[in-house]
């Protein structure tokens, strides 16, 4: 087998093995349960949730914030590293694009799940009011979605063409599908030039778009009078949190793919070490913003805010708060300082814990605040003073997470997760049609 064929075999589409099939079945099961729960929610109303007039936003919103945060990985791991010519990004780039696309799509869906009248969704366009942060979201989420999809798609064109050609004889139907998406790609100088430019432009765009996306997400909260939300620190706090959530998800997914597809020679310890350092930077910045958000206010907090902080630090939410802060943030920040914790396996476990922490972190940002209104909670059933998601909410939320994983799984199944085209060109393989391929240069 030639090196070129080896590349295609390693990186090209692979049929699901038994474990893969079980995984797919598991995801589909979760999604089916969530869809049923959602239909029931449509029929009965949001009464099936445990949200009420005081805790008026719950796990749907915190899950939405989590998806938005994770999608930021496209801006940091793809675009920022591309613009700084950090070559070590290469084996992670496509995984990052895939994670970002899956998460921003699910963010869009999750926010609709929270709307009590999705049948009136068009009102958001017909009667849109520009001063509402929700309208900003309506504008930025689809924009970010399109740009991140293009940022996944454009660099993929040569690989799709490679697979089209590769399967032309053995699997004509698959070849046709790849051919359809390859947009007649044939490595013409004009195509390559245009593609290079477009990708560069998209990478330039996704950074400000990502920053705007995370900021607007923060503005949803900080434009209200609520204690714990009414903070000018919130937008950078969300951006730094998004770096942690995004890189954590990226490292997790990349490690699993590497193990499952046995790509140890493509994604090496060196790459994990580099990403571990970037992850460490993100974690340290996030620690800094958490200090600004939870420690500094202790000095000047007004009565309502003091109560809120107390609930987090020593009250009802103390256990999850400290778990998230220590296990999900401080420990990862500390451990990733050391080289041996940036080895693939160790880094994977740290990233998994940080990702779980990041998800619960959003829950802790949304819920406790709402339990501390300015006027006392009176005249409503006792149960309204607490919040924990209902079965419907858990089923639906699990389904959204499963859908994100399903999108990632399917893309990883059919799309080369490292660019075959680029590897072939770099290694100067004779089959490479890339105009900058080393064997062509040598020939000239």
């Amino acid at each position: 087998m030639s090196r070129y064929e080896q590349l295609i075999k390693d990186l090209g589409p692979q049929k699901f093995n038994m474990r893969g099939k079980l995984w797919m079945g598991f995801l589909l099961l979760l999604i089916a349960a969530g869809v049923i729960a959602y239909i029931d929610q449509l029929i009965q109303g949001q009464v099936v949730t445990n949200m009420r007039d005081y805790v008026l936003w719950g796990v749907y919103i915190s899950n939405f914030v989590y998806f938005v945060a994770t999608s930021f990985v496209a801006a940091i791991a793809v675009a920022a590293l591309r613009l700084t010519n950090s070559e070590w990004r290469r084996p992670f780039v496509r995984v990052a694009e895939i994670v970002a696309v899956a998460c921003i799509i699910m963010a869009g869906i999750t926010i609709i799940i929270d709307m009590a009248r999705p049948d009136r969704m068009l009102n958001l366009f017909i009667h849109a009011r520009l001063q509402s942060p929700i309208t900003w979201d309506v504008i930025i989420i689809p924009t970010f979605m399109v740009v991140s999809i293009l940022l996944l798609y454009f660099p993929l064109l040569p690989d799709l063409a490679i697979l089209r050609d590769h399967y032309a004889k053995t699997k004509p139907r698959l070849s046709k599908i790849y051919g359809f998406f390859a947009l007649k790609w044939n490595w013409a100088a004009q195509q390559v030039k245009l593609q290079k430019r477009s990708v560069h432009l998209l990478a330039l765009m996704i950074i400000p778009l990502g920053l705007i996306l995370e900021s607007i997400d923060a503005y949803l909260f900080s434009t209200t009078y609520r204690v714990g939300w009414d903070s000018s620190n919130f937008a950078p706090y969300f951006i730094s949190g998004a770096m942690v959530a995004g890189l954590g998800a990226l490292i997790t997914v990349a490690y699993i793919i590497r193990r499952d597809k046995k790509l140890e020679s493509y994604i090496t310890d060196y790459h994990f070490d580099k990403f571990g350092k970037l992850f460490n930077l993100a974690l340290l910045i996030y620690v800094y913003f958490n200090i600004n958000e939870y420690v500094v206010p202790l000095f000047t907090s007004k009565k309502a805010e003091s109560e809120h902080l107390e609930t987090l630090l020593s009250g009802e939410y103390a256990l999850p708060f400290w778990l998230v802060s220590i296990a999900g943030l401080l420990l990862p920040a500390l451990l990733t300082l050391f080289k041996r914790f940036r080895k693939p396996r160790a880094l994977f476990y740290i990233a998994v814990v940080a990702v779980i922490g990041a998800w619960w972190k959003r829950y802790l940002i949304v819920t406790p605040t709402l339990l501390h209104p300015f006027l006392p909670i009176q005249g409503v059933p006792e149960s309204w003073r607490h919040y924990f998601p209902s079965l419907h909410e858990w089923l639906i939320t699990s389904a959204t997470l499963a859908m994100a994983l399903l999108i990632i799984t399917l893309l990883v199944r059919y799309v080369p997760i490292i660019s075959i085209d680029r590897l072939a060109a770099e290694e100067g393989l004779p089959e490479s049609k890339h105009p900058e391929s080393k064997h062509k240069e040598a020939a000239v």
């Binding site: 949001q46 936003w57 009136r120």
Partner: protein, 324 residues
């Protein structure tokens, strides 16, 4: 013209009840005066101000007391020339809850959270407790209106903040934004069938009578009863209160009434050191409070106090129907 006549009445009020024409909002005790309204002899002309503020002269015989009926006006703009306000005298409140019952009844509130609530307040252990009725503050800088993505909740020129339940998308951002926790959500089908006939609903359905009907998946709240104002009547809570806690009126006229007495808004606020809730937030509420000085005995309200209920259920045996 309808509006000219209304403005004319305001002018008369300002000139010291020259002609004894009752104000729409001075209803209650003053309403009967309008029937005795008459002019004697012609040739006597009167200066009036029209809707644009121009002074015009009209022969007094041409003036006629108008009957109060529905004034056609733009629901989103409000009743022209008005600026509705309320004053809540905490000294008089003893948690009788007649206001809440009347509000629940006339707005067909079926949920678990009343639109008008009487809070048991006590700032610190050393300060004494008092009862504080709270309803929508109809802020002049309403946080809820700012964040609404679809203009479903809107601010009118007459000061009211209302909700278009046919447009609301149910995002609940307004509820998060309101610092007064005044907004309630229809988490399920409001099930008002027992209280509302379909004919009535179709005829009356308007943001000017919130809860008529309530719509599943949308937000409700106190509407300051504009459906009463256009009839020349006071909001339900005002008339229901046995202690005259609520004064309702028009800031432009500087007049408020609790049904028994009609007073100058500015004097009332000045004499009693009136204030507004959370002034520091800059929401500019339309509801003023008079501090609970020399108040009715606090303890008498404790019998009525129910920490966990503000809407009485028609059938007490029905356990919380929302438990699912």
């Amino acid at each position: 013209m309808e509006e000219n006549n209304k403005d004319a009445r305001r002018k008369f009020l300002n000139n010291g009840w020259k002609l004894g024409l009752a104000s729409i909002l001075g209803a209650g005790a003053l309403a009967h005066l309008k029937d005795g309204f008459a002019f004697e002899g012609s040739g006597e002309s009167i200066e009036l101000m029209d809707a644009d503020g121009n002074i015009i002269e009209v022969d007094s015989t041409e003036l006629e007391a108008m009957a109060h009926h529905m004034v056609p006006h733009d629901v989103r703009k409000g009743i022209p020339g008005r600026k509705f306000v309320m004053v809540v005298d905490l000294a008089k409140c003893q948690n009788a809850l007649a206001c809440q019952r009347a509000c629940n009844k006339h707005h067909f509130v079926t949920g678990d959270n009343a639109w008008l609530k009487v809070y048991k307040m006590q700032e610190t252990e050393d300060t004494s407790p008092y009862w504080m009725p709270s309803l929508c503050m109809h802020c002049d800088k309403p946080a809820c209106v700012t964040v609404c993505p679809v203009d479903a909740t809107f601010k009118r020129e007459d000061g009211l903040v209302l909700i278009d339940n046919d447009r609301c998308v149910g995002c609940r951002f307004c509820m998060a934004a309101c610092p007064y926790s005044t907004r309630v959500f229809n988490w399920n089908d409001p099930k008002q069938e027992f209280e509302l006939s379909m004919d009535v609903v179709e005829q009356m359905h308007s943001p000017e009578h919130a809860g008529m009907p309530s719509v599943k998946g949308t937000v409700d709240k106190c509407d300051f009863c504009p459906h009463q104002a256009v009839k020349g009547e006071l909001p339900h809570c005002v008339t229901a209160c046995p202690n005259g806690v609520f004064y309702f009126g028009d800031k432009n006229e500087d007049t408020v009434t609790n049904g028994n007495e009609t007073v100058r808004l500015s004097e009332l606020l000045e004499k009693n050191a009136g204030y507004r809730l959370f002034e520091e937030m800059g929401t500019d509420p339309s509801v003023y409070y008079l501090p609970p000085k020399d108040r009715l005995p606090f303890e008498e309200g404790l019998d009525n106090y129910n920490e966990f209920e503000s809407v009485e259920k028609p059938d007490a045996t029905v356990e919380n129907p929302e438990a699912s």
